[in-house]
C-alpha cells in the first residue's frame, strides 16, 4: 500500500508511508469519528497492509488503556455516591429479610399441606412461559378478554404472572410516565397492528393448516449492531442470499432461562400483499409478523439481512413485560408490544 499523507509537525515526511502514520487520522479511525465511506476505505487499505494493522493495534491498545482509566475513575466515583446515597439500604435489606422469612414460613406451611394432603396438588414450579394478554378493544369477543395463556391448562396460575413481571416494573413505569407527559415514546419506532384469522396469513408459513391464529405486525428496531468486519461481511452475503433466492429458513430458538415456545423464521416481502409491501416500504425497521398458535408463537422476520446460521444462534430475551429482544450474533433487534398486546413471563404450576 502506498497511501501517503501530508506530513505533520510530529513526524518527518520521510517516515510517512501509510495512512496509519497520520496520528490524527488514526485516532479518528479508532474513536469512530470517520464517515462510513472513509472508514470503509481505510478498512480496505488495512486489509492489505501489515504495518498498518500493527500500528492500528498499538494505538488502539494505547487509547483503550486511557479509556479504561477513565472508566475506573468514574466507577469509583459512582460507587462512592451509591454508598453515600443509600445509607438506608441496610434497613431496607432488613425489612426484605423479615418479609422473606414470613414468606418462607408461609410457603413451608403451604407446601406441607399440599404434599401431605389428599388433594391433587402442583408438585413443582415449571418453566417460564409467554402469555399474550388479549386486547381490550371492542372487536374482541367478551369471552376472549381474559388472559389467554399459551397452554390453556395454565390459566389457573395467572396470578403468578405479576410476580415475574414486577421484576421489570421499573422501566415499565418509566415508559408510562413518559407517555403521560407526551414525550416521544416507543410507539414512534415500534408499532403493531393486530388481526385474527382462521388461517395463517402467509404462504411462508409452509403447509398452512386451518387453525385459529392471532397475529400482529411489529416493527422492530436494531438497537445493537456488531462492528466486527467478519460479521458485517456475513450480513452482506446473507443479504444477497435473501434478495437472490429466498429460502424459508426456520429454526427453533434456544433460550437462556427466559421463554419457551417461540419459533423464529425468515420471510420475504414478495410473499405478502401489495398493501403490506407498501406499509413496509413506508416505514423503516424490521417488519415482523407475530403469530400465536395453540402451542407456539412464530416470529416471521421479513427481509432481514440475517443468515440461517444467525437464526440458529438467536436468543430471545424478555427485557420487560412489554419489550422483547431477539439477539442475533451480528445484531440485536428490540420489539415493544403495544399495551393491549403486552407479553409477560410467568411461572406456571404443572401437575
Amino acid at each position: 500500500m502506498t497511501n501517503i499523507f501530508p506530513p505533520d509537525a510530529e513526524q518527518p515526511e520521510a517516515e510517512k508511508k501509510y495512512w496509519t502514520d497520520d496520528p490524527e487520522l488514526l485516532e479518528q479511525y479508532i474513536l469512530g469519528k470517520l464517515s462510513p465511506e472513509e472508514k470503509a476505505q481505510r478498512d480496505a487499505e488495512i486489509a492489505d497492509c501489515e504495518p498498518c494493522r500493527k500500528k492500528l493495534q498499538q494505538e488502539t491498545a494505547f487509547i483503550a488503556g486511557i479509556r479504561r482509566r477513565g472508566r475506573e475513575e468514574m466507577k469509583i466515583s459512582l460507587r462512592k455516591k451509591l454508598r453515600e446515597k443509600q445509607p438506608g439500604r441496610m434497613i431496607q435489606y432488613n425489612s426484605i429479610a423479615l418479609a422473606a422469612a414470613v414468606v418462607i414460613i408461609a410457603v413451608g406451611i403451604g407446601m406441607y399441606k399440599l404434599l401431605f394432603s389428599d388433594i391433587a396438588a402442583p408438585k413443582y414450579f415449571g418453566k417460564r412461559e409467554l402469555i399474550f394478554r388479549q386486547p381490550k378493544a371492542s372487536s374482541v369477543k367478551p369471552d376472549e378478554e381474559k388472559t389467554e395463556t399459551v397452554r390453556p391448562e395454565e390459566e389457573s396460575s395467572a396470578t403468578d404472572e405479576q410476580l415475574t413481571a414486577s421484576e421489570y416494573s421499573a422501566q415499565h413505569s418509566s415508559s408510562k410516565e413518559q407517555e403521560a407527559q407526551g414525550i416521544r415514546s416507543e410507539e414512534n419506532i415500534l408499532q403493531g397492528t393486530e388481526r385474527e384469522e382462521t388461517t395463517p396469513p402467509l404462504t411462508a408459513a409452509g403447509g398452512a393448516s386451518a387453525v385459529t391464529t392471532k397475529s400482529i405486525w411489529l416493527v422492530g428496531n436494531i438497537i445493537v449492531q456488531s462492528q466486527n468486519i467478519s460479521a458485517a461481511e456475513e450480513r452482506s452475503s446473507s443479504q444477497k442470499r435473501i434478495t437472490g433466492e429466498m429460502k424459508k429458513e426456520q429454526e427453533t430458538v434456544r433460550f437462556k432461562n427466559t421463554v419457551e415456545g417461540i419459533t423464529l423464521r425468515q420471510g420475504s416481502s414478495s410473499e405478502l400483499s401489495k398493501e403490506q409491501q407498501q406499509v413496509m416500504k413506508n416505514e423503516s425497521g424490521v417488519h415482523t409478523l407475530v403469530e400465536k398458535h395453540d402451542d407456539k408463537i412464530i416470529f416471521t422476520i421479513f427481509d432481514a439481512p440475517l443468515s440461517k446460521k444467525e437464526f440458529q444462534h438467536a436468543v430471545v430475551h424478555l427485557a420487560a413485560d412489554d419489550s422483547l429482544i431477539i439477539d442475533f450474533p451480528s445484531q440485536t433487534i428490540a420489539y415493544h408490544l403495544p399495551p393491549e398486546w403486552s407479553m409477560a413471563a410467568q411461572k406456571t404450576i404443572r401437575k
Partner: protein, 192 residues
C-alpha cells in the same frame, strides 16, 4: 437517599442530565435498572455482585456514548443497558469457560455492540496502560482522559484546562503521550 432519588426519571431527562455532565443521572439509571439486571444475571449463573458490577460498567458505557454524541435514542435506555449487560456477561462467561475450552473465538466475534476498542478496554494490556497513566501526573493525565475518553475537542480542552489555544493543547498532548510511552517502556523493562 432523598425522596427525589426514587422519582422515576424519563429517558429524555436522563440523557439531558448526562449531556450536561451531571453524573447524578448514573445513580438514577443504576437504581431504576438494578432489579432487572440482578434478576437476569442471577438466572444466568451469576451473583448479585456480578450484576451490580456489570450495571455500573453499562451505565458508564452509556455515559461515554452520550457524551461523545454516539448514542442514538432508538430504544429505551433500559433496553440498551440490558443489551450491554447481557453482552458483557456472556463475554465474561465465555472468558471463564476459556480456561477449560480454547474455542472461544466465536463468542469473541459475537460481542455485539462492543467495538474493538471496547473489547481492548477489558484487556490486560489496557490495565497496564491505565496503571501507567496514574504515574504520568497532572496535567497530562487529565488532558489525555479528556481527549481519549471524554472525546473532547482541542478547543474544549483548551477552555477547560486554561491552555492558550487548541494548538497548545495539541502540542502538550503529543508530549504527554510520549511521556506515557516512556513510562510504559520503563515498566516493561523492569518487569522483564
Amino acid at each position: 437517599m432523598s425522596a427525589s432519588f426514587f422519582h422515576v426519571h424519563d429517558d429524555s431527562k436522563i440523557l439531558e442530565q448526562i449531556r450536561r455532565g451531571d453524573d447524578e443521572a448514573l445513580l438514577v439509571l443504576y437504581n431504576n435498572n438494578r432489579k432487572m439486571i440482578i434478576s437476569f444475571i442471577t438466572r444466568n449463573s451469576g451473583t448479585a455482585d456480578d450484576a451490580e458490577d456489570l450495571l455500573q460498567e453499562a451505565v458508564i458505557v452509556l455515559w461515554e456514548k452520550v457524551r461523545s454524541g454516539k448514542f442514538e435514542y432508538t430504544a429505551k435506555i433500559s433496553t440498551f443497558l440490558f443489551a450491554v449487560v447481557k453482552r458483557m456477561w456472556f463475554r465474561t462467561l465465555s472468558r471463564r469457560k476459556k480456561e477449560f475450552h480454547e474455542d472461544s473465538f466465536k463468542n469473541e466475534r459475537e460481542s455485539g455492540e462492543l467495538s474493538p476498542l471496547d473489547i481492548l478496554v477489558e484487556s490486560e494490556q489496557a490495565f497496564t496502560i491505565a496503571s501507567s497513566l496514574e504515574k504520568l501526573g497532572e496535567p497530562c493525565k487529565t488532558l489525555l482522559l479528556l481527549y481519549y475518553w471524554e472525546e473532547k475537542s482541542m478547543e474544549e480542552i483548551a477552555a477547560a484546562m486554561h491552555f492558550a489555544n487548541a494548538d497548545t493543547v495539541k502540542s502538550k498532548k503529543y508530549q504527554c503521550k510520549k511521556s506515557l510511552e516512556k513510562i510504559l517502556s520503563n515498566d516493561q523493562h523492569l518487569s522483564a
